[in-house]
Symmetry: D2
């Protein structure tokens, strides 16, 4: 499945803001990878690729890219509603596939992808929960594995964005799946990953519209809180927000019987502290792009290493989230949305 | 209602660990206060009072203390089950009353106290939610009042204790009311105080037994999580634990439309940081006694100032929690316990 | 040396801003102490004492206070130039004496006080280096004693004040002794206390006038840095500033062969953190009054306990700085000033 | 000066631990760079290059590499004593040159390099003070430029290493130049860079041997402190240590008339905080490799961008330290060593 040079030949699909970042990582910063193709329906994005990338073959149609026999793996950074079918098409074309989260906002579709993937056990199919590749999250995971906090039983995790006055996510509300499927899905995956992949048993969610009244018509909120009980008696608490004043503040805590770990509690932008008349302060990461810059790169390295059957020097043998993980995250996220809308606990 | 000297004459009732601390504060550290009487059924505690306090009159019977006409106010640090009746008796005896939390674990009793107190509007009756008097909590309250974070709409608050291998609280489980009424009741009061005293609309709670299996027979847990929705669309999330490795970790966050405040996030014992082979660390406050030492003193000063009709230099005119606040905290705490046990959201 | 009641009877001398604070502590917050007298040449300060203190006998002349046989100890918060003679007079009058730093800005005077004090070994004579009584400094001292950092060999310590645009200290420059004798003297005492009381061998100092040009005519600076070598090969670095933007920032580090301790690195005002568009911040202690509020109280308790021959519950048997400590601090401070002015290292 | 492909063709010289890191960065992580050659006298290092790098031409003799006409620039990671002559040789061969610090431990040699370089103004010659490229240091620099702290007048900066029981640096002491030329030279460059490149006027240094007695015979110490006065009235304080328990702790502070900045105060390894019975802690960066991983990469990108006449996307037009900067750093470092040994202030 590798080219003669031993490099994995990739094609990136979707060249929006996040697609561009993935493309640059694959093109220039992942040993063993060669970005040979890119696909976008937009001429403007293909023009960017011509300029910024090392001469990839450019496609405006996903089917054409899949037909390119010199492509070993596809990297999907496309709208969520397309993910499921595009993954299936890639697998059928004999290509490894990496797909940005979420797998799908529809459980039946999720299961259809899992069923299809089961037919191609030799192909990698990974969903992009990049937080697993953040060095600090990874360090916490390793410490837990090593027993540093005894038995972990509670995760508290949040995904909160700096307020966007333009309200992009309001316009996006009709298709985002709501705050829990769009944001909390990351925290769900983190919680399950750090707690040993338990299955959810019961959830409850509530929310508030703090600033963006336009969300009400979609049954959505700009701040959501939730509790998730797992079958093995473990617990998770989630918070998601679109309205933080200080920046993107993504952090998690894992509490065990012999200690606890906090990951990223202060979303410091860097190592600088400012002393002035307002006190002592640090600036914050403005967006998840800034916070997870390294994680996006490391997940690409890990994917390439996984396909090539080796370990990734930065990450050991860590693999990303499986389709089954992604299915469970969607299942829990949908239950949270249902609880938010019904005001009742939802049993899974 | 003041002695000729202008000092408020107090009698403390109950001289356990916390009672002793209150007694010492009232005796030596509260301008305008004179601790003139103390009551305990235990000779050992009265013996301590003889030694440590400035010659109070000692009683073994609460009724005798109430009959002491040279006592203006009583300070109750007695078992929770006695609070309601003792408050009523104090008011009927014409005395101001300060009572440790909780008001009662029984809503009917709570309401009976409120009804009785309504007959004595000239008497102070305050429940000891000391967290309101902690300088950091007070600073947060003042900043919110001044508009520093816009409109506050979410409180996250926790009360977690260092694990006690002796499991005092397991033996205490039959009468404590459970983790939410024993611990979270403080967070409930903090949330309502910081959010403008909203009424609760719906709650959900869940829990885990991480270490203390003995709690199961009482329907109790050693780690509990909860969500509370208020009638005005505001929210609170709570966490209570008996099993922390690092110390008593009581902290709260208030999130508003223009910013957020965190109070006590790192439960640092003092201003020392230790650099050694394990990294950079600070030690933590071992117990709520250590964490809230100043708050216990300041609440005593505020009570005395309130009775004397003046402002407290340290606190302005801040008053403590009213009986109505205490009733609402019990009401919410009981709903949390009911939700924990039923697995369903509870509508209040 | 105690009154019949067993309480130490104190007279406070000097009722400026710091004197008032000491007076209130002695009057209301020090078990075993009775503030029975106060002395000030200013009617306005005596009027304050009449109002705020528990009926002390008031004097406008120090000699009259010393003649008061119902006074066991004097507490000097007077101008530095008076300290030496006032201590001698107090000892000759048979009274214990606590005196604010510095002992004197004149080494001959310092030695005269030591010689005189040697004649009254039954009388306490303590100089107020309150930093030793700050709970965090004390915790560091105890940790070092317990071997937590191996052998300590380097102290870095600073005393920096929030910039005062009024430039009080410029007007005060003629008599303050300069920045090293006024500010750094505290750091010198801390360094020697934490390093085992070594004698200084050689010093070097330099400085800058950042904002207050008026200091130049006095050979003084508003920011000073210094190095001190001790006879046993240990070292200290000092920084003093009058021009900080963020507040009073007094902190120290002790570095040992097996670890290090930092005391007060972030001069946080309290436990609140503020999240807003500028980042995450804490406010700072505005002045040394705020930073060392507890230390001033604890040093008073320790002095009273020391006179009464007992241990102080808060502090064990810790005693304050001796006259010999104060002499050494002055000796080093004067050498720093000499180095600043000569540009050369000064050998002691 | 660029190859047909537009990529700058580099040859790395020296493949020790740091050389390997530079080589990998140049080979795989610097857009616009092509690592086409490598030179080491050791077969073992060339074998590594064969395996790890993308087929560079390998040399065992520097002169041969310089004769390679397909090399545009050389990257020197060789022993300090070789730097000066190797830079001169590279320039004479028409190649741009990047050289690890220090320029030389000999001032006459430094000046000889500057004189030679003046003859080749079209060639880049940069000394590797990588700290300028650390994103946090760069952020501080930019904030100062923007006026965030008023006029900066004092830098405090330290370079401290985790104790190495093997004492590599003891064996290295004969040629390292001593702690100030080996470690503090970075802080000197940082101080000058952040203060506007002032010239030094007078310095004083002192030191202690805390653990490594073997240094005494070289007149060296394992802990050194220093003060540097600049001609424009600005100041710097330095601390260097070989014996820290907690890790590599490199940090700096810049104090200005309207505020201050601290860079890297807590040498946290990542964003994880650990809560256990010892308190709340973070682990520390073990070595400068870990602390400055990004800086090493960014300085390579900046060098390549500078040669190519463009701006570096990550860094704007920032250039590294010039030969003149390196000369001044050596000049100050040598004066510090002289002061340490003489016990006297040294006027430059």
């Amino acid at each position: 499945m590798k080219a003669a040079t031993g490099r994995l030949r990739l094609g990136v699909v979707g060249l929006g803001r996040l697609g561009k970042r993935h493309a640059e990582n694959l093109a220039y910063r992942v040993p063993g990878a060669a970005l040979v193709a890119a696909c976008s329906p937009l001429e403007e994005e293909r023009a960017w690729a011509r300029e910024a990338l090392p001469e990839p073959r450019l496609y405006d149609d996903y089917a054409d890219l899949l037909a390119d026999r010199e492509v070993d793996a596809v990297w999907l950074v496309t709208p969520s509603s397309l993910h499921a079918q595009q993954i299936i098409d890639a697998l059928r074309a004999g290509k490894h596939v990496f797909c940005e989260k979420p797998l799908s906002l529809n459980l039946v579709e999720c299961e259809r992808v899992l069923a299809e993937a089961a037919r191609y056990p030799h192909l990698q199919a990974t969903i992009g929960f990049m937080r697993r590749f953040d060095p600090s999250y990874k360090d916490a995971f390793d410490k837990i594995e090593a027993g540093a906090i005894g038995r972990p039983f509670l995760v508290r995790s949040q995904t909160t964005d700096k307020n966007d006055n333009d309200g992009f996510f309001v316009r996006f509300a009709a298709t985002s799946g709501g705050i829990f499927l769009d944001c909390t899905v990351h925290d769900i995956d983190v919680a399950r990953w750090l707690l040993g992949k338990p299955r959810a048993k019961r959830v409850f969610a509530a929310g508030a519209v703090a600033l963006h009244e336009g969300l009400r018509e979609f049954g959505d909120v700009d701040n959501g809180v939730a509790i998730c009980e797992f079958e093995d008696g473990k617990l998770a608490m989630f918070y998601a927000s679109r309205t933080q004043a200080h920046g993107n503040d993504t952090h998690s805590e894992v509490i065990g019987t012999a200690g606890a770990l906090a990951i990223g509690h202060n979303p410091r932008a860097n190592r600088v502290e400012i002393y002035d008349a307002t006190g002592v302060r640090n600036e914050c990461t403005p967006s998840f792009f800034d916070r997870f810059e390294d994680a996006f790169l490391l997940e690409a390295r890990a994917f390439v290493a996984a396909v090539q059957g080796g370990a990734c020097a930065d990450l050991g043998v860590q693999a990303g989230a499986t389709l089954a993980d992604a299915l469970e995250a969607t299942r829990i996220g949908m239950a949270l949305r249902q609880s938010l809308q019904s005001g009742e606990a939802v049993v899974l």
